[in-house]
Symmetry: C2
Subunit: 316 residues, 2 copies
Amino acid sequence: MQEAACMAALQRLQPVSHVAVSGGTHGNEMSGIYLVKHWLREPSALQRDSFSATPFLANPLAIERCVRYVGRDLNRTFTKQFLNSKAAWDEPYEVQRAREINQLYGPKGSAQAFDFLFELHNTTANVGACLIASVQDNLLPMHLCHFIQTHCTLGHYPILLYNLPDQEAYSISSVAKHGLAFELGPQPQGVLRADLLTQMGALVACALDFIDLFNKGTTFPAFETEAYRFIGSVDYPRHPDGELCASVHSKLQDKDFLPLRPGDPIFQTFSGEEILYQGHATIYPVFINEAAYYEKKIAFNKTEKCSLSIPALQRE
Amino acid sequence: MQEAACMAALQRLQPVSHVAVSGGTHGNEMSGIYLVKHWLREPSALQRDSFSATPFLANPLAIERCVRYVGRDLNRTFTKQFLNSKAAWDEPYEVQRAREINQLYGPKGSAQAFDFLFELHNTTANVGACLIASVQDNLLPMHLCHFIQTHCTLGHYPILLYNLPDQEAYSISSVAKHGLAFELGPQPQGVLRADLLTQMGALVACALDFIDLFNKGTTFPAFETEAYRFIGSVDYPRHPDGELCASVHSKLQDKDFLPLRPGDPIFQTFSGEEILYQGHATIYPVFINEAAYYEKKIAFNKTEKCSLSIPALQRE
């Protein structure tokens, strides 16, 4: 009877033939940049029996300058507002580049779009190797996450769901039919660490193996898993003129994905006072003290833990 | 007899009345920037019986943009060539700013120059809390280093001597009569860690205590100590077009100030090969994989360990 229920829930999806792997969506996140540069010279690592993945550098100008972006954050630019905008002489470089990428690997929401697009990111926060999906509804990325969690032995792989309800997906992978981001940290901007480079390469290899198995007809059983769902963010305490007056508390620093309870310290002011978390429920902070988020007024993102029940999957 | 020899070696220096503490010589090294911003609001922490130290932000434009520099590295700009140059409309911002700083806290080499200038720096390398002096001949900084090593309990404080023989000192502290840099890491560019902020604040407090004791006539006995002397640097392996083809080896990463022996691995190529250290003697690498040094073609700096014998010191 239980088996019948599982069988009933089996979902079928089309094979995945067009796969792209993007590095350097942010031009100072070095693991993805140097993996992609390496694969452009030696593409064999991205070949499988049933497909070959296409590597590309998403923001070449930012990579050249080793900055996150030149005009605006490219990875917040893949919304209809920007993708459907007309070229203007004074538009940020990344708006033009987002349209280009949408033409090459999308168009977003269309039948011609690539089947799968991977994003490679680094953060200065201690997230380990985090798997970021927009929402849980997209079965292929969720099964891919589960495959990595059960087959990749180099670390722990928490799943982060970043889209708020009814929010349009804005990241580069949203131009393809399915997408997933690998977010590895801590790594300083502009620094290439061998350990994270190796781990990111192994993650991509594992992901491509999964897609190859899927294409060959493997049935991936239903499963239950935990994920962390983005629910909002917390800014740094500031003076009236906008200047920071506190840093992330040393007891919160590096504690990404660990529970933060009401009353726990979150900041320490430069005068030595502690600021405590005033929320009413336990949350799981992520991207704690990420360098690129100071300007976004984010000291850390808040997530809640949730349980997911994912049906079985097989190709059509 | 031994005591007499020590007494004979006692050196006397003038009291130290004009002291400055510079943060943000590099605009993305956050510990010094936020300590100085805090002290500008609350200067009492820099006051002692015999003097008050003056905090200042060295590169305001780079700090505003959260970049190392705008036009050129400010901390390589305090040489006669730049300080004596005439203002030009197309000169880098930092050349103009170096002249300003030289007017305010120098002029370099003059009797009017400040007595002591501290530089506050961060690095992405795992140097801990490193004390950087130009050369060992300047007694006051060397005694200050020893005082920190024996009185500051938050860490280990290696001394780094950065000037090559006959090389003109080029850093911001060289405009004053005496100078010392505190270099704390690892901390990503653009990130403020509470632990390093606390440690840097304690280092500056300890240094000001030392100067106050010196001014009040305390005799600081002769001592022997170890230091690391800069002897050169090693670039990343590169493809013929200049692109990196390897990262720092995971066995060298984070091993600043530890011995590197001939035959030890230093790089791993993106294709998986190890590159071994070909030198003939044991060295002590520092600034391993520092973000700001990729463009300077430095994967790590080489130092050799040396023993210093420093005579006793008292004020005149």
